[in-house]
């Protein structure tokens, strides 16, 4: 979707403000939101692509105003309500609905180190067409899906060169919407600064994006 989250290349969003000696969390509630998101995710009701998309669905003005973990909190609540882990009445009241069964958490403290150490690899050992090889000229397609995509607007329609073949990865555009993993080949593609931003782009260099097969066409 062409949301404000897809902000690469925008002007007017301010200057970067690094904070010296920044703590990992600025308040305890931030750390709890991170932990709740990971622990609730262990139910397997949604995947990482769906959770990213949920945060993209926050209305643009709110998205720009909210702090990072505030967006995570809103995303988590929506994911849990949509998938039936909690009801909206429970969120409103803060108490389990009358008669709601008590569950057993899938992620216990003893399992946390193993779960974090394993992570969630997204490579899949399946055949997927290799339409491009390293060195091929490609053009990022001009697509404007209303759902989740990882092809930023600034690269659409632009010419690049394939520089890596990452193998076969879960395809977020499908996976985010419960349409299955649809694993597809993922390529590292380099775009020159001039191709992306015009002849006035300052200095030599480029931008590298990791793009799935469906995002690309031969050039």
């Amino acid at each position: 979707m062409n949301g404000v989250h897809d902000m690469g290349g925008m002007h007017g969003l301010g200057s970067v403000a690094p904070e010296a000696g920044e703590p990992v969390f600025h308040a305890p509630w931030e750390s709890r939101v991170l932990a709740l998101t990971l622990a609730a995710g262990a139910w397997g009701r949604w995947n990482i692509d769906a959770s990213r998309h949920q945060r993209e669905l926050i209305l643009g003005p709110d998205y720009l105003r909210m702090s990072y973990y505030e967006k995570w909190l809103e995303g988590l609540i929506e994911l849990m309500a949509r998938t039936g882990l909690v009801t909206r009445a429970e969120i409103a009241s803060g108490r389990p609905d009358a008669g709601a069964p008590r569950a057993t958490p899938p992620l216990t403290a003893d399992r946390v180190p193993g779960v974090l150490a394993r992570g969630g690899p997204v490579t899949r050992d399946v055949d997927a067409p290799r339409r491009f090889v390293i060195g091929d000229a490609v053009r990022a397609r001009n697509i404007n899906p209303v759902g989740h995509t990882r092809l930023p607007r600034y690269a659409r329609g632009r010419l690049g060169v394939v520089e890596r073949d990452h193998g076969v990865h879960v395809f977020p555009d499908a996976n985010a919407h419960g349409l299955g993993e649809k694993p597809a080949r993922l390529y590292g593609v380099r775009f020159s600064a001039q191709e992306l931003w015009g002849e006035a782009a300052g200095g030599p260099g480029g931008v590298h994006l990791d793009l799935w097969d469906a995002y690309l066409e031969p050039a």
Partner: protein, 204 residues
Amino acid sequence: MEDHDHPHHDHAQEPPSDLALRVKALETLLVDKGLVDPAALDAIVETYEHQVGPRNGAKVVARAWADGAYKARLLGDATAAIAELGFGGRQGEHMIAVENTPAVHNLVVCTLCSCYPWPVLGLPPVWYKSSPYRSRAVIDPRGVLAEFGLALGEDVEIQVWDSTAEVRYLVLPERPSGTEGLSEDALAALVTRDSMIGVAKVAA
């Protein structure tokens, strides 16, 4: 009460006080429903507050500086090379290391959200997740680097890595001169988080 005499860089980082209450209420609800284990929440916070952070990445960089064979493995298969030092897992499942040289400077961003190599750098700082960095790193990397106090020569090529998939990038900064005699531990102590994102150089 807000102190208006001191400008805030980003009001979004000053949440309304009811956020803490909302999160507490949500945690209580989820624990009451048996959906999450409070001890697991504590373990997750402990992991990212105290165990997983940029010191991990600094060890990787120092090893690469000290050991040419390791550096070759890191640049060839970063996931495996980083695992040799015991680091890996969530948000670092598919790693690539990119090497800075006098001619080429690498910079990592996630324009679409906040993708970041957790096992080697920990959780990302606020500026990395902020709109200014995400919007400008790809179109004006020189301007962004200048805001970090890093001025690169006009002939230096800047390569920006936008983390659009589950591949995560670690910058291997240039080893500063004058560090020839240093031990690996002493080298690691020089390596900053920012140098491994690409917004700083390592100083001796």
